[in-house]
Assembly symmetry: C2
DNA sequence: AATCATTTTCAAAGCGCTTTGGATGTCTGC
DNA sequence: GCAGACATCCAAAGCGCTTTGAAAATGATT
């Protein structure tokens, strides 16, 4: 059933039917009801391609997911982010289109998206420092918002970010207050902006208490369980092992916990751990009492909000740029405790 | 730059340029080269909506993700599946469009997709027993493939599945061979087809050795870490605790391990664990030696293959239905060992 | 040189919608 | 009873592409 069929069926012109369905005022309320009813009954929905062609709007938003052939890693937060954003999209009648692309072809993918007019805007994920996508998107004129920020970019753009720096500074402070002096950092890839900021928060908090950051107990990698495990194990086996760890993700933290327990130590008593918790649906941090003391910020909520910002931007491309900085909450769980005596 | 502009720029008709670009034979090679070059230089790409409208094909494939307001759970395998499928899609020029929808509106979402012509086909995720989506999709005539199978459906359809039953039967056998007699099952939601099949494999293997399945040591839930932890803890605390567990996902297994270690037991010595491993990129099961003994099957690979099957189906809707059953490999890791003497 | 077959190119229609610029009908006030 | 205002509807153009059917150019054959 298409518009033409529906309109002949109703004995009306396509114009009138279209207007009735799209809520234009110049149509009799009686007629509008008739049209709406018939559309409902015949399960009519406008062909989105035709509509898009006519209106010049795709009613779709793009997400390009770069896939490194080496790392072969999918960001585990992606699912939850999508769920959040998707909620906003469907509420506003937008589709979500994903493009998986080899990372070397990422720029080309954006150009492609732009010239093919497949989407009205894109969400930029996982910004790196000096991220080149931002100027590219500005240049080609594709509306976008960034989930996170990119240090070292002069241009302004819309973003929503967790205050990674203050979160990790607070977490570090919390550990220092408990008497920990040697705190290992198990961070994401150094090129990632969030990892950079987290390290900055951590280092500043240490320095503020007169402790020099020690590169020997700072690691930076793709945030897997294995990485958390290995890093913690190595640091614990070294001279002057840390009495506490700061981990950048729950999955890392699970690895850290494994290393601790493998060594016969007890998390929360012998070794403290604080992790960042993205509030992933399949990795809840305990139920009533959190297992890990954590800096918590829901990535799903971020997705929801970011989608709103982008849609606003699409509807009003010359509107003000939006910057939203969310504070992570520090949730005290069972993984932290006073530094053991002998280590103080 | 659109086709019209490009063609006047070249002094050719739109027809010729279109044909040149789409590889039709009736165009001079010399002209084709000229056209290709100009297209390249001016970064021309056909408007996908216009193209879709003209050809009647969306060159896009849909995935609808039902979101329960209660569970609020995103399947953690989703990211990796998407990555795999996305690879196939981009190789074949398809876009991937996701629709997040409240589960109660799922059927309506498919109808919607169908009548709006947004995609050429869909992938059905996480089939339940007697899954109603299959007959719906048949009815509305939207090409589809299923990731998994749906027991209790009379109609035939294309699917790709892991042999869950044989995988869990083998895993159970493996544990039985090691002398374990009481094996706890920590499974996914009972309504899910895969969970059903896994339980069937587990039960049959037990019965074949004259052991009656005991409902007291079988759990079924959304597969979170917490669920794995709680289930294992409860079972270990009960009379006649299991000496081994069979878990349906790595994330569950991490919880199981936590419960074991919390009790002061050692996984692989005191308690054995086998898990199903979907080979998620951020949850590798160890590096050289697997941590968990596991039945392993890459969900990413499944995504890749399933996408191929669907595209084939779209190109040839009357072709034969395809059924692919992948055998999971049993990888022996450090989490299994002979049953402790006193328990035998 | 004329004819026919083949290659190469083109004008125009059509995909299903929105939207512009009327046309028609109805109502008001004088 | 008629001009003007307003409400309601419509025909047709246009969005950017593909594709049909025909025309023009070229080459081969007599």
């Amino acid at each position: 059933m298409n518009l033409k069929e529906l309109s002949t069926l109703l004995g009306l012109s396509q114009t009138t039917v279209s207007r009735a369905l799209n809520g234009y005022p110049e149509v009799n309320e009686e007629t509008r009801r008739r049209v709406a009813l018939a559309a409902e009954q015949h399960n009519y929905r406008p062909n989105s391609r035709a509509k898009g062609l006519a209106t010049g709007r795709a009613m779709a938003i793009g997400h390009v997911i770069p896939m490194s052939t080496k790392h072969e890693m999918v960001n585990p937060i992606f699912g939850d982010f999508i769920a959040g954003a998707g909620e906003t999209y469907s509420r506003n009648g937008y589709d979500m289109v994903l493009t998986v692309v080899e990372d070397v072809n990422e720029a080309q993918a954006y150009r492609n998206i732009r010239s093919r007019h497949t989407v009205d805007g894109v969400v930029v994920h996982g910004p790196k420092m000096q991220d080149s996508r931002i100027s590219l998107l500005k240049e080609i004129g594709l509306p976008f918002v960034v989930h996170g920020r990119a240090s070292g970019i002069a241009q302004d753009y819309s973003w929503l970010d967790v205050n990674n720096k203050s979160a990790f500074a607070r977490a570090t402070d919390f550990l220092l207050d408990l008497g920990h002096q040697r705190i290992g950092l198990i961070n994401g890839l150094e090129g990632m902006d969030f990892a950079h900021r987290r390290r900055a928060g951590y280092e500043e908090a240490l320095i503020a208490r007169g402790i020099a950051p020690d590169p020997a107990i700072m690691r930076s990698e793709e945030m897997t369980e294995i990485f958390g495990y290995r890093s913690a194990r190595e640091m614990l086996a070294a001279d002057e092992p840390p009495t506490a760890f700061l981990a950048s993700s729950m999955i890392c933290a699970l690895g850290v916990r494994r290393a601790i327990e493998e060594r016969g130590l007890r998390m929360g008593r012998d070794i403290s751990v604080i992790t960042h918790d993205d509030a992933l649906s399949y990795l809840q941090n305990g139920s009533d009492v959190p297992i890990f003391t954590a800096t918590r910020s829901s990535v799903r909520e971020a997705g929801r909000r970011l989608a709103e910002i982008l849609i606003e931007r699409i509807n009003n491309p010359d509107g003000p740029l939006i910057h939203e900085l969310l504070e992570a909450e520090l949730m005290v769980g069972q993984s932290t405790g006073p530094a053991p005596r002998e280590a103080q």
